[in-house]
């Protein structure tokens, strides 16, 4: 349980870090969506390992194969299965942790939950699974494109280096021009330097990804549990290493007074708008047509390239050696994952909203 997501536009992912393949079955994508394979591959390449000096050097081409659901270049309305074969597995890198629990990993909890585990590269708990999400998210983006909805994410914090500009002050198109995916070139350089230095220390560091969704019509989101931001929150928190989520004014908004925080409505060219957007484009859990924006916090990667103290399955004190290949900081590669999950949420709610009125 728990490997499926979405109510109408829904996905079911499968695969382990060092198994034969990972993949995803997308159900509920409407028929007739132009299926742009080049775009899907581009999205996968944004996430793939080994793309720069500040990411893991595991080598995976992350090429995908379409197994079903597409005919004559369009979706058919039936399940779309996408398959990505694992290539650079080196499972023996992991034999040394077969009987021991890496600190702050899922080794111990999986063992407790299931009574056994695929210890190779973390098995199912590996962030490798997110490639399947990115592939599915790319399909969701193709669907959203038909409605003029776009999702863009970027790195707004790495370690203590925080970009103190809101998204309106930034040229988000610059995010993809540097390897850390921060749209402020000056800050990007500092972040790259920081992450590279952390990497050289054989250590890791956390970060924050911010995202903006534009073009959403009013009406997406369902009261009372399936609020748009609640699903966005769940979607982000389901990404490996994510520790927090906030949208609109977020945690900082709590210090404001209502009279400062309320977004006043006005009309422009017959369209209802708000003068401010502390609501983050969502009111009562439903989109109001303004930009939706949010932030997701990611902890420092648990795997370090140095020895750490831990215990084994017998409960004895052992040393866990830093092997395998890992990112010193997840946020550069988390950017396309955040976008993918947001796109999946939006696609689902766009369809759900078709049932709101008689």
């Amino acid at each position: 349980m728990g490997s499926s997501y979405g109510k109408i536009f829904s996905i079911s992912t499968f695969g382990e870090s060092h198994g034969k393949a990972i993949g995803v079955v997308i159900e509920g994508c409407p028929a007739g969506v132009p299926f742009d394979e080049t775009f899907i591959q581009q999205e996968l390449s944004r996430r793939k390992p080994g793309q720069s000096k500040i990411t893991t050097n595991r080598q995976e081409a992350d090429e995908f194969e379409v197994l079903s659901g597409v005919f004559d270049g369009k979706t058919t309305g039936t399940p779309i299965a996408l398959l990505i074969r694992n290539q650079d597995q080196r499972s023996k890198d992991y034999s040394h942790i077969a009987d021991r629990y890496r600190p702050s990993h899922a080794d111990y909890t999986y063992q407790q939950k299931y009574g056994l585990r695929d210890y190779r590269g973390g098995g199912r708990s590996s962030a490798r699974e997110t490639a399947a999400r990115v592939a599915a998210g790319a399909v969701a983006k193709l669907f959203l494109k038909e409605y003029g909805i776009t999702v863009q994410a970027y790195v707004s914090q790495a370690g203590a280096l925080k970009l103190n500009k809101n998204y309106q002050e930034l040229d988000l198109s610059l995010a993809e021009t540097n390897i850390v995916r921060c749209p402020d070139q000056n800050m990007a350089e500092k972040m790259i330097e920081l992450i590279d230095s952390v990497r050289k220390d054989r250590d890791t560091i956390g970060g924050v990804v911010s995202a903006v969704i534009k073009g959403t019509p009013a009406g997406l989101g369902e009261p009372v549990f399936d609020r748009l931001h609640a699903e966005l929150g769940k979607a982000m928190l389901s990404i490996n290493a994510c520790k927090g989520f906030e949208y609109g004014s977020g945690f900082d908004g709590v210090s404001l007074r209502g009279s400062e925080h309320n977004d006043v409505f006005y009309t422009e060219d017959g369209k209802v708008k708000t003068q401010t957007n502390f609501s983050g484009g969502i009111q009562g859990g439903i989109s109001n047509g303004e930009d939706i924006y949010f932030r997701a916090a990611f902890k420092p990667v648990a795997t370090l390239m140095k020895d750490q103290e831990s215990i084994n399955e017998a409960g004895e004190k052992v040393t866990v050696s830093g092997k395998g290949r890992h990112d010193p900081c997840v946020v550069p590669r988390a950017v396309p994952i955040v976008e993918a999950m947001a796109a999946l949420v939006l696609a689902d709610f766009l369809l759900r909203n078709r049932c709101s009125q008689k």
Copy 2:
């Protein structure tokens, strides 16, 4: 859609602020749980309006009636329906907003989504719906009690007044001894003063609720989308006015290095523990047996007791007058709601985990 929550231990709430009643149907509560009606009523009383000078003065006894699912003092395994009649409705208080949108409320988004709306007190979008959650959460607590799992929340921030102590430094049993539900008496007094002063200004202010879950066994939570913290996040963000969620080290953790942030395992009396708990009791989305803790941010209430500028359904500029009865700050009453939602999540995952092993 969207008024149901949970996969096995699941709830379905109904009712509007000024309709006849609100209520909840609980499905999937196992048979044989002692059904303590007094406890459920106490929980409802912790949330009910009019309980102190810093809450709304709407008067609702919030007495509930058990319609089904209980026999001879125990749950029967069949749906438990709980009903709470609305009493102090004063719907005419709302006729003045029938055709206009209150800023930062759900008036506009509901109208856009459904093409019509029950404008009385916000209808379904009102936080009155959360009484049904508290009733259901109380049943979840009764089930969790059988397993020694407890949930406790408290106010850790009101406006800019932030309690800079972590939960281990506090005596959480003190939270219920003051009307703001902050376990630090000194801070509690300041918070009460602040909220009261904001209320006198006919304004509102936000806050943060922190929560701690103790006694959870290892193994709760499902990879990869239904991680325990992802569902906790969704559950919190589904509460009215919630803008952010973080667990364990949260947003602050991003600045740490992995070598500082990793929680080292050790064994004590044959039990696996961690030396620190930046993980917040959850690793790989699954509980590890340590305390689970998280924070939820709440924005300032949108309804102000003063006039605000807005538009009506025709898009014309109008004034929205502050009427009705509202809380100057939601967090004191949000405490039992946060606990209820957390208890519902835990109850569901406790049952889901029964299916993990052969």
Copy 3:
């Protein structure tokens, strides 16, 4: 689990035979549907006990109260809760079976499943629960009415008395003109006589309900598991005492050759039709626009008004005395239940189909 039904237009029923009330929460009914309370009451009256000499003489007015989801005479898109109080409970009629299992009832299986049971009138297993379905089905019918879709059922067999005419040869409007709900007056009289005679024998007998759905557009039903007829089948088989379901040519169709059974397409006034309709209006699990028709078999009621041999909870041989009040044959009252369940299935698929195309 198991007390909810439907994916988008979904219901959750609650209540026991001799508890305080039964009821239903309807989620996913679109906003804007005219809410005709008189019609809903009429539907409930078609199902209510005590309506004729061939039904149980339990007296229940089955008046319902709307608790939520309706405003200004229209549905609001939020959950619609309907409540029916139990009146004529006579729970003490059942104290004699508290510790024993009635043959072919759910007494034993509930006890095994839950470890305890509400033995009064069968508790949750009682067909009294179907009143909630009829109320919900009436709302579904109001929604379907907006699309010109109608559902009509009738009794086509009582005991061995089988109406050997297909629905096209009958004037279905006559079904409601007699107490057994058979549209052939001659056969109706025989059926009434049979059932009354069985009743006098303190025995019971089975029957078959047939149903026809008209006005369905092509496209309803989802491949591959949620075929329209598969959901109709589940819906019917979920009704108390239902033992079989067939649609279109059904069991008899197996003896035909493909060349006889295939329905040839033709066009009339630009509309695609079929010359025969062995398909029962469904091809590949999806409606084709022709009439949908099916049959549901109901076993003889298990409760007899005479003594039967059985065992008690200790496994000892005991006598179960025939008390309580029960129908000698369920099919007359099953007619509105069959219609209600069919309407719920259709309403759900009508909404699901809104998501088929881009």
Copy 4:
């Protein structure tokens, strides 16, 4: 939507008749189940085409590949993805029907539903999809084996040739000893002769598959909608060409009186049993520990090897020529599919029942 089935032990199938592959993702299979690949392959071989003179001569090895969810010969509790590549596709066999609707096929309904369709071999509507179900069902059987639950199906009717013995009078182990899968050798020969003769006529014929489930504990099934037989019914009716379902006494039971039909309880060696089993092992929707048995009716295959009249997409009268390769009668190959779907239902309810009691 509609390509997933099951609540806890759930499957999601994908793939078209003439696409690259078909497959299934199994979610919710508990960890620790011995994964017998040989057995799974055997099950697939029982369903595969080209196995005898009375089945289609399409050649598919139906070899499967395990992509995930298995480690060291056991299930890991994470999604199990199974892939079957299509080999003998001959898609050009189908170009002649690209613009026309085969009678009683899903061509027209898919076109209406989705606005486009993969016409090659029926695309998603092809019974080729059921190979994925058989693979998943084999995994379910491996899980059920751990609990001593077995499922066996056999052909009890082909055309008008009906086996008038109930399952207790038959040696079910003989079913797999002949190509029609009927355990009565005499009847089997007649059936084979009939089907072969129908095949030579370039025509098709229907049939009935019966099934028996042994070893089920009391308590499986959920009131009130998810009754065990209601899910079995849906599962069977979701199989291509299935037109009817009945369990226990079924349609014939309606003519009996309650006093004949009731199953009297007795105790043997401390175990509760019933003297008769008209209930088919299910009372109130929940298993009582007796054998569960049911029958599923299958219509004659729609594709004939001769010309038929029909219409094209423009609504013009056309001839549809019999090409492709098809079964003259589906029931011999439906036997393992019926078993697979029944096993999936049982596996799901076995897990669901773990949550019935505190």
